[in-house]
Symmetry: D2
Subunit: 165 residues, 4 copies
């Protein structure tokens, strides 16, 4: 992956290894229902619900059977999220939340996400997750098993895509 | 309503036409994901999330293709809900929300619901919905088309059960 | 307390020691904001948000400084909630959630709640809480210290009312 | 915009007119309760709840008495949000959500936000809001009255700070 030809320019000038807005960029999707309680008085799905949908896809992504278990005493927490709202959503319906790692650092890694209704990308998400010590709440290095798994996900081709559940 | 043989005693002495805790009592199910944001600091699915799951099943039940459209100027609103928590739920997973009318009155009707994880009934819900005028916010009689549809759902056998989506 | 003059008849024939719909019946209030994300596409505060508001008042009630700490190894969980929606709420605004015990049994006790906007009672809540063993998840007897505290709250006059925070 | 002396460097190189992490940078605060239902199974306030808290502060900011009413037929919608999680929050408690415009363009403007617990900044938020036509859902120019109001808020000194409610 990661070739210059696939890089998409972001507004702030950071280039990314794949186009988060293309369904074909993802190999893992989690299908979510829009709930009536996700709507707001504007009549559409409230922006806060998108954060819940992205979290749902993200937590299921790292809950996959092949994701290496973290050692005792550490946990992943969110350091940052960016959400780009591209299209409005209306109840009822379902969306597919695609999730894929973008990069990995010493104690943190970045996930890219796209919420799709059919082929249409309605929302983009970018999340920075940090590994911390449960007791001290301070960052610790990501173990090699997780780092290797993440690195493989960054570069592996997304085909065939898997849709859960 | 239904035969006495099907009536199940509630704690408060009100008998019901079918056993809300049996999966076989329902003909309509809506499958919902448990979201990570549905959990609370106790470690299980928060009681508020059950209200959202019941609403999700309820709104999809009345959103079915064959449910007769309400006339302009009126809408259904909730007057009362009762939720019995029987089993705890933990993330991740899916539940099937069964929904079926229990009785119908002049301006209101009652829905019975069961949240199931496989065959296990984890939660019961009973909801009173009232038809109101959008402008005055006062109760109005349920039109015959809706009343007939609801009455048919109360007495129709729940087989074969339909699972959405 | 408990005089026949104060008893209010419920729809199901159960009488209660005080009128849950009167602001003067409560000695503890927790003031909550209505959030924009509490609204739904009907344009009012969604019914699920009321469950969150009631929980907020309830958990703050038992979080008060003088509530006796539970022993290790047990916790209170919800067994049942009933919510009566009397008036619609609209964003923005604040509500005062009044909470007061109604009765206490061997392993469980009942809380009565009223959500008020000024003097108007917009919602009633009745909750059954059960004390369970954290490991077995089975009911256990409520310790005397908690039972005495609850019994005192049931019968103590609600004046002067305290508003938090 | 503001003096260079007030500019704070962001991680991505964009400078801002004031330091979003300093309580003294804001002139408008909205105080919010942390709700029990805002917690998650990690034991802290869930990241999705922060999106709700930021929205709560943001919607109250534009709901102020002196904010010029938008013309019929247009509405503000979110185009983007960035949330930086700096400190964990635990139930119960209150936070003060500070909100202040950062910049204004033709059809959109940016809001900066800080969630504070006392003097500690627990979370930063940056939101892009776009004015759209209600019918076409396409961006339209921000009217002069709103633009002037926003521009004044960007440059006006934040003292004395106002805390709602």
């Amino acid at each position: 992956m990661a070739g210059a030809g696939l890089r998409a320019a972001r507004g702030d000038g950071v280039s990314e290894a794949f186009d988060l807005a293309r369904r074909a960029s993802y190999g893992f999707f989690f299908r979510e229902n829009l709930r009536f309680s996700d709507t707001d008085m504007v009549g559409h799905i409230n922006n806060v619900a998108f954060a819940a949908l992205l979290e749902s896809g993200r937590t299921m992504f790292t809950h996959r059977a092949d994701y290496p278990a973290l050692p005792e005493g550490v946990q992943m927490v969110m350091a940052r999220v960016e959400i780009d709202y591209r299209l409005e959503l209306h109840w009822p319906g379902q969306v597919d939340v695609g999730t894929r790692p973008l990069s990995v650092g010493r104690s943190s890694y970045r996930l890219g996400q796209g919420i799709f209704r059919g082929e249409d990308c309605v929302t983009l998400g970018r999340t920075v997750l940090v590994l911390i010590d449960r007791a001290t709440r301070r960052p610790v290095p990501i173990p090699d098993a997780q780092r290797d798994w993440i690195a493989r996900e960054i570069t592996s081709p997304p085909v065939p895509a898997i849709l859960f559940p």
